[in-house]
Symmetry: C2
Subunit: 262 residues, 2 copies
């Protein structure tokens, strides 16, 4: 099984991208809704939660871990890799690589939660790949609650998105990384406000493509994951009403979320 | 010591109201930021968190507990009262009593988080006091994130507040309960949008007045709490940057927040 975790439902955009690319690879999804949202929590708390989430996925038989959350990826992926001897994929490196590849003017924008933006991970990774590039960042802490309310096309959401994007637009970025797994759900609102010529990097797609590269190199891992008859499973550490409908709108089908105690 | 807990910083509006009324009674404040916000969590999760918070305050010497959070009050106050043999004050009853007293047309509005509104506690309590009154409710899940971002006077906040209040306005309520301890920070935005003739019930003020009644009846409890030389203490289960400045804006002074592990 592939193990995927996130603070809540945002990471389901990653799960969906993975299942579209690998319909025969079942996965276990864990959404840590009891501690959601991660974006405004401290670094040490996120490391602790990520450790617990990984332990849970391991007990469920995960052979590879996907951290489908930017806040957790940016603060905890190093610790998880030191501690657990299995492949751990985060949502950051694939998006940074793609942005570095696509940008022509070397001016790249990043939007994300406060935890993600303050971690500085994107800037450090970008400097390693393309040192001459500049990264312009903007924390957008209200976008996760807006998405979780389902306010995807409301006027207020558009105004808030415009406000957040203005400084990046002023910097004439030509590439924008959606540094939060909730944000692809807002892409129709984001694209016209940042400008249609700006490349939009959706990390969920990049993660799925990166997983493809990993599995192509490691055939034993790939075959160990293959189980076309096994169904993917969805666990959450808390369950309240809007979550179910948000999951449905992400997957385009009804999804059974099983609540477990953490 | 008086023990006060909340999911985060909203309950500080209650703490402030209590210290204004009782400058000689020190308190211990606990903000459960590791699990914040409470408003979208399930009932059973909120009972579990409230139990843990109460245990912590007891170890710190609390002799009376104030649940300074509507989501926790509406879901967990019954369980806490059954389990712990000390006075437990919630934020709901004092506000309901005041609203029942003030309303002339019997049409009362309530705004709060989803957990608070869905619990139905306000309606049940109101029916007991004034059965002929009607309660009109509106869940406002985006207001807590907006307050926590410090967006108190932004145009987007005003638009969202207007949208939330419109159905209550249409119902011609004459009294509005601010059913979340964050909302008094938005009162300047709320008052002109609901109409200046509508009575606004700020539960933080009502809780402090209710505490006064409790202490007037129980002189032994009052003298056991008296300790003018002892300073109030503030604990949080997580500490990230915006919290400190929000605490400062609530109290009008700098407040030392001590992080503890839960």
């Amino acid at each position: 099984m592939i193990g995927i975790f996130d603070s809540g439902v945002g990471g389901m955009t990653v799960a969906r991208a993975i299942e579209q690319l690998f319909p025969a690879l079942p996965y276990i999804y864990f959404g840590d809704l009891a501690h959601s949202p991660y974006g405004s929590k401290s670094r040490e708390m996120l490391i602790e939660y990520s450790r617990r989430n990984t332990e849970f996925l391991l007990t469920q038989g995960a052979k590879i871990i996907v951290i489908a959350c930017n806040s957790a990826s940016s603060t905890a992926s190093g610790t998880l890799r030191e501690r657990y001897p299995l492949p751990i994929i985060d949502v950051i490196s694939p998006a940074v690589r793609k942005a570095a590849q696509l940008s022509q003017n070397g001016r790249i924008g990043l939007i994300g939660t406060r935890a993600t933006v303050h971690s500085g991970v994107y800037a450090r990774q970008l400097k390693e790949i393309r040192p001459e590039c500049d990264l312009y960042t903007q924390a957008c802490p209200l976008l996760v609650p807006l998405v979780e309310e389902g306010w995807l096309n409301r006027r207020e959401t558009k105004m808030i998105v415009r406000k957040y994007l203005r400084p990046l637009r002023d910097q004439q970025i030509d590439t924008l990384i959606l540094g939060c797994t909730h944000y692809p759900l807002l892409s129709k609102t984001i694209v016209p406000r940042i400008g249609k010529r700006v490349h939009i990097i959706d990390s969920s797609v990049e993660v799925a493509l990166h997983l493809k590269t990993v599995l192509e190199k490691d055939n034993r891992l790939y075959t160990s994951l293959l189980a076309p008859e096994v169904k993917s499973k969805y666990f959450v550490s808390d369950l309240s009403s809007p979550v179910q409908s948000l999951a449905m709108s992400i997957f385009g089908r009804s999804v059974h979320l099983e609540k477990i105690n953490v």
